[in-house]
Point group: C2
Chain length 470, copies 2
């Protein structure tokens, strides 16, 4: 059955272009095709694979499709599929070193490979988390505990008097706000600082906010810099922020979820200049380095602090080796740990650094190409710089109409395109402007797919104009 | 290469009994066998599989080995390996309904299958989390926000005046303390209530603690009942606790991480009688139902409350279907979501309810058998009741010596046994007494393996006695 499924996956990947990128099913359609109760007796496995094809596949949005330009990419390279298969087959649960030493030590080695690839100094140590959301929550919890000198071991955050404050830009990802809220800071103590014309944090505004908060008796605690914002891949000035962080004793967390992968290219490292001043950094190899979801890399300077915040040490988890080894259960929120390092190890070994780099350079070049197509075309507007692989655009038809008409027009374009099945992109807002957000980076996306997207957009424009006229 | 790896896994599983259960490598041994830097060029995949066999396998502790009696089991049934392979191959990221409707809807269906299997009413809705640690953190965050009427949307927990208090038993899992600390309650506001002679929470002591805290002006907030504690699978009196929870407006969270799976057996449901009074429940199908790690099932009564605590709604995540569908990114901490429902679906369909039940009954019977062997043997002491599949014992040699000698003796037994490779169990403390904790429930463990463990323990006793004498 394993062989049958391997063939099915190979076949699926080879015919992936035949599928509409975005699933076209309607809400409840898949659910209604499934039995409401579990089977009493086991079923033949052939039937399970048949259902995979007939019921599940129509409800899949194909993230590995070359026409996937939505959100940020989430690559699952075939080498990663195999690495993950090895992890499932071994079935190791790596909460402690002893519960599978190879899982802990391979994670140490592969995270150090990644550190070297990114050009980070040996002051940073990496550990695998599931997602950037979770890693950022860890970062803010570590910040909270550093500022309060471990309030968790006393009366908790609720016993603190002067409120702690968190700072990020108004373009920061929603997971920053979520983490700040879950960590107990409260929305009133989250400052979303104004950004400049390139959607990067204004350090002058940040300084003003810090000064104002200090004057009110509040306690600035953590600062989140984004390298590659979600809306437009804007680059916060990490160096300037690091300086302020040091001056005020703030925890500096760098959210490079998407852009971090690009740092394996030396020519991209200017984008997070100053990163050595960070206390923690997160980036997602599951986005743009081929390691399948979920594999988020969290790098920290002070591992002992992380462990103090996250560790528990009950007798049933102690082993004779605890003083000599890392027990990675103490490096994050979940206690149990899947052997995730395998898939990144497989990908790096199968590709080699040079191919990983070549592939990212291809995507960056494709983004530049697409940008030039947009810039040269009449009635198209580009809304942000393109430092990475995301291009933010909108169509402004002859005789510009109101902002609401522009919004409706561009939403129609996105809808038409997404429903066509040829490509999938995310309509989104950039400082209130409705945009079409083209995020390039599926492993299968070549220049011809980017050209095809551009053609499909022209067709969608015509269709939207007709719909509006009709 | 996929075929080669499928063969390798099938081969590994078929010869698993040949391996020592617990890896015998020393700290750093695996790491030293791996290159310190990543390869510049890609490597032949044959070499990767060869390294899997030669470098990784010696560092694996075999959780699916029939001689695995440590911690709690973590089964990865072969059907689950295939389900997970399908998930990796599809590479879907299911944060929103639209990003793969089948992933969200299959999760709804399979979680509802599980709800029915467990005998829970339709008031509960299930969602997949990675681990019970994460689910419990969610539960305490939801409790915190209910008690404070959403302080997260104002000044946060740090703006609250009367401290919130969390209650659990002194046998509760370390993840409860970790969650309480991370959620900001603080160690001083966590009450670990005394347990009775069966290691279950004393409701009278709980009532006293509540009364005392109320008298001091504190605010009781959340109550965690454990169905199947980690040390001895003790059963807190859920019904009595639910009554107090209702009376005082406490959030009742039931941690049934291990024992929850047993509720697919109607004859076990007395163990969590009163569970319908819970606000949230967590159990781990990855422990004892064959769905490979990580797959934790979190059931809640008030889904709207969960969503209000966990949701963010930035423009780049909105889709046209948001009012009609579940976006599971808003049901937990991480935003991105792997298609985990597939592996549980595969397991339930391949096995059918009856085989799943038969297998659990086998393990329960094996635990009873082992208990009887212990009870009938001289110089062996059983330290706790055996409602489930875990048997807590210690060896008390002729002419009982001090507690510290007993501890050293039993640790030597555990060490000898674990190093022998024949079996692996976790030495642990039960209210200060050193015990040998025998946790039965690997999918491959048959009666003969339990008999073999008993023989191996006798041999380890002799060896320990010799070591002590020598």
């Amino acid at each position: 059955m394993g062989h049958q499924l391997v063939n099915w996956i190979a076949d699926y990947r080879s015919r992936i272009e035949e599928f509409p990128v975005m699933s076209g099913v309607t809400p409840g359609e898949i659910r209604r095709r499934l039995p409401v109760a579990p089977p009493q007796q086991g079923e033949p496995f052939d039937q399970v694979i048949a259902d995979l094809e007939q019921i599940i596949l129509p409800g899949i949005t194909h993230w590995n499709h070359p026409g996937f330009f939505a959100y940020f990419p989430s690559n699952t390279s075939l080498a990663s599929v195999l690495g993950d298969l090895a992890a499932s087959g071994l079935g190791a649960q790596a909460m402690n070193w002893q519960t599978s030493p190879a899982a802990t030590e391979l994670e140490e080695v592969v995270m150090d490979w990644l550190r070297q690839l990114l050009g980070l100094s040996a002051h940073f140590t990496g550990v695998i988390h599931d997602t950037a959301s979770t890693a950022t929550l860890c970062a803010l919890l570590c910040a909270r505990e550093r500022s309060t000198k471990f309030s968790q071991n006393r009366g908790g955050l609720q016993a603190e008097t002067a409120p702690l404050v968190v700072y990020a830009s108004d373009q920061a990802h929603s997971s920053i706000e979520k983490a700040a809220l879950l960590a107990g800071f409260g929305k009133e103590n989250l400052r979303l600082i104004e950004t400049d014309e390139n959607f990067a944090m204004r350090v002058d505004r940040l300084r003003e906010a810090l000064t104002a908060d200090l004057a009110r008796g509040l306690r600035p605690c953590a600062l989140v810099a984004t390298t590659g914002t979600t809306a437009s891949t804007a680059l916060d000035p990490v160096a300037g922020m690091a300086e302020l962080a040091q001056q005020h004793g703030l925890w500096l967390h760098v959210d490079a979820a998407m852009a971090g992968s690009a740092m394996i290219l030396p020519e991209c490292r200017w984008m997070w200049e100053g990163v050595e001043g960070a206390d923690s950094i997160v980036l997602n190899p599951h986005k743009w380095l081929g390691a399948g979801f979920d594999l988020s890399a969290y790098f920290v300077r002070d591992t002992q602090h992380l462990i103090r915040v996250m560790s528990t040490n009950p007798s049933y988890l102690r082993t004779p080796y605890d003083t000599e080894v890392k027990n990675l259960r103490d490096w994050g929120i979940p206690m149990g740990r899947r052997f995730r390092a395998l898939k990144l190890w497989f990908v790096i070994r199968e590709q080699g650094v040079e191919k990983l780099q070549a592939r990212l350079r291809r995507d960056l070049a494709n983004a530049q190409l697409f940008m030039k197509l947009v810039d040269a075309a009449p009635h198209w507007e580009r809304l942000a710089p393109v430092p990475l692989q995301t291009v933010c655009i909108r169509h402004v038809p002859e005789g510009v109409r109101s902002e609401s008409e522009l919004t409706a027009h561009n939403l129609r374009i996105a809808n038409t395109l997404n429903k066509s099945g040829a490509a999938y992109l995310t309509p989104s807002l950039l400082k209130g402007k409705q945009m079409l957000r083209v995020s390039i980076g599926s492993e299968a996306t070549e220049e011809r797919h980017v050209q095809a997207l551009w053609q499909a957009l022209q067709a969608a424009v015509l269709s939207s104009a007709r719909a509006s006229a009709g």
